[in-house]
Point group: C3
Chain length 213, copies 3
């Protein structure tokens, strides 16, 4: 059984996405609850959508409080840090913070994508590769998409650094490794591919073409 | 059986939330159908999400027309009143209207929250308290959240008067009473707690902390 | 069996809605992936919501890649045409393009509505007419609603040319024909009614009343 292994990964992804969601919440006019809610939605939204789609009812985010609690605590820490910073302005390097956020978000995307692929496989097998990859993509990008829909900004995945493309590539890698009976290796490898693609894309400013109108 | 009792409560909540949704629709550029649709979404959205999460398929909002019809009629009345008012401007007290809206919205939140707690209990028992409270919260705030996502404003629950916190407190009260075998009392008590917390919070301007940036 | 017949209709609707979604994507700041994603969401979103509501798990959009691939290719063609046009400005008649888009969108609405009615009937029979019509409406308008929520604009269905009303009328026509054992005729007839109502409404500028505030 690799359940424990998966849970630890999931909690790391939950922390990473909660920080990303709470940071977006701070920039909107949300209060403390709003910041926590955005952190929780970002961290659990993708998994809830995936569970609804795969027929895992009630979704694990609703039955096991560990995800919501982890996300809430992470978001509260973000809020507390921002509060202290607003009272004691320091010359914190904004560029470093942005890079940390990028890495956190990439780790979240990587972990949730491979967890989503594994969820589909554990319920329906590796036969329908499209379903497995789609499940990974929805798990990876669903939370951030809900977050952006709630705070009324164009979803990041529509315009940023091959975000969803990285998720699809990693999901494919994960699926192929599972089909080769390398399931235990597939989680780390798939997530790593996603983080590397995302970080490289951000560093070299890879962007998909866009048409100015 | 408390079904009839619950249905009457649900219809009161439906009217309250439909009025709230239709009022938001009037302030956007929606036409008559948009106003009705926003009233219906606000009144039934939370219940539909809850039913999807709890595995009540198809959701009761889709199988029993009474909720949609009640919400549509309530919204149409709001539209008619606004139409008459726009042609015959009166010195209607805006402050009174706001207070009425607050009370309606609080009643809707109170009723839908406890109905959501009871839905989870009737399907999965009181064992998983987290699921019961979460089900109540989603039922209570889901419709308003969808409404705000549709008209592109920051969801009220992210910034207003301990909105979601009131729902969680009432859901806990409702759950505890159910565990004490006081189910028939839990609906009125849980809903009342929520209405009181909300009205007090609005009156005394209780707000959660927020960080200006 | 009318499955093949239905599939061809569904693919026509998928192309029509993907073009509509991709066109909205071009007007936002989305990159190539964003344009594809909006085309795919618009074309498959209504069907996915309907399948979740009716209990078709996983939704067919997730198990059968033909819808996503059709929508992606259609959206990519829209992107390519827009790219060429941006480099070689021509005196393309904008009015013609708008009319084409209206017709495409109406065809998508018509086809998806009747497909949604048939999905409900094939799972739950014609007994609950409300469920059948609601299923048709959600299938028809769900994708466009998600699209508009994602790009932060007031959903078209709240303000445009009796959009949802056309869908409801066509769904009723389709349901009545099915109850009269004219199922094979009901798809074409229901969809045609919707297209005609929509095009007439746009041409004669039929709009539902709205209150200016």
């Amino acid at each position: 059984m690799m359940t424990d292994y998966t849970l630890i990964f999931e909690l790391i992804g939950t922390v990473a996405f909660a920080i990303s969601g709470a940071s977006v919440g701070l920039r909107s006019r949300s209060d403390l609850f709003g910041v926590l809610a955005l952190g929780i939605v970002t961290a659990t939204g993708g998994g809830v959508i995936r569970d609804l789609v795969l027929g895992v009812i009630p979704p694990s985010g609703f039955t096991d409080p560990i995800y919501v609690i982890t996300a809430a605590v992470s978001s509260a820490i973000v809020f507390a840090v921002a509060y202290l910073k607003s009272r004691h302005p320091s010359n914190l390097n904004v560029e470093n913070w942005k890079q940390l956020l990028l890495v956190m978000d990439s780790i979240g995307l990587g972990i949730f994508t491979v967890v989503g692929v594994h969820s589909a496989i554990s319920k329906y097998g590796t036969g329908n590769g499209f379903l497995c990859v789609f499940s990974g993509l929805v798990t990876g990008v669903g939370g951030g998409l809900l977050r952006d829909m709630m705070v009324d900004r164009l979803p990041d995945i529509f315009r940023k650094h091959v975000y969803a493309v990285a998720s699809i590539i990693g999901a494919e890698v994960c699926l192929i490794l599972c089909r080769l009976n390398l399931a235990s290796f597939s989680i780390a490898a798939g997530a790593a591919v996603i983080v590397v693609v995302r970080v490289l894309a951000a560093h070299f400013q890879w962007n998909l073409p866009r048409i100015e109108q």
